[in-house]
Amino acid sequence: CTSVVAEDTSGKLIHARNMDFGLFLGWDVKNNSWMVTELLRPLAVNVNFQRNNKTVFLSTSFAGYVGMLTGLKPGVLTLTMNERFSLDGGYIGVLEWILGIRQGAWMSFLTRSVLENATSYDEAKTLLSKTVLLAPAYFILGGNKSGEACVITRSRQSCLDIWELDIQKGQWYVLETNYDHWKPPLPIDNRRAPAMKCLNRTTQKNISFATIYDMLSTKPVLNKLTTYTTLMSVSESKFEAYLRDCPHPCMPW
């Protein structure tokens, strides 16, 4: 996955993501594609969750999957979750849960709960950084005001880091793939550098849905695992999502 929150020169935030999933889950030699990724695309749905006929939050999700990985709460926040691979991974948490040790929260259930119930950026940040989880994760959170964006790096038990926007220091975007931002990515899976190159070339004054979609369409940020791209803006109440494909030649991840 690649998630980004960027702030334009007027202080408005744009949050976007490529959803990548299905690595090593069956390679279709004939079609040069990942089988699970191909099967996920037709399941992608945008959902308007309503209560009392009013929108509570919007989400891009998969039919049959009740947790959330991408969402916008109107006027309040935007949230995406990226996988964080670890030896102390979710399979241990799931095993513990099956064996009766159940203090950890399911990641995508927590994300949905935050989208449904959090009333502010700060409340969401606290919930996402302090709740014990079943699996490690990156939460990419955007608020509704200038400077309100961060990447929360989580282990199952604790919050390892909160990386925030810092406009004063020229940090006008935060970008997360699937590696801790303070460490280099795996050399054979470096989507971070191409994504940053495109954003830096775009510059803050030209950032928009169009230029972020351009960045998310550039290989290898766009790759064989990409199922959808979602673009969100709290301040302009905009939520757009598109099914993606990366025709050959294209990186498998």
Binding site: F49, E83, T202, L243, P249
Partner: protein, 121 residues
Amino acid sequence: QDVPPYTEDCRSGTYPPSGPTYQGNIPWYTVNLDQAPRERWQKIIADKKQPLTAMIQQIKDLVKFFFHGEKLIDLVDTKLPALLGNLPPPFDEEMKGIAEASGLPLGEVMLFNIFYEVFTV
């Protein structure tokens, strides 16, 4: 670049989306949180029953391949539903509703929902 890692110069002019990297818009649905959790997903599942069944079959095939046999899937079908009550509401009831609407075994719907957690290895 025609050899791996197939990088390219920063794209421009791709928006509004079109061309070979764009496969279409994602359809919109409404989920009414005032409805009983079992009923919330019925419209979506009615429309997506076939691709959901195909997806879960693929996950089962992978599990069989990695663990050499049907035993683990049998456990998923027979033992996992008993743990559903330990999931926080409304997720437990929503999964029951999805299983009912799709005709898929409840354990397999649960497997699909925990797949992302398991995959972080």
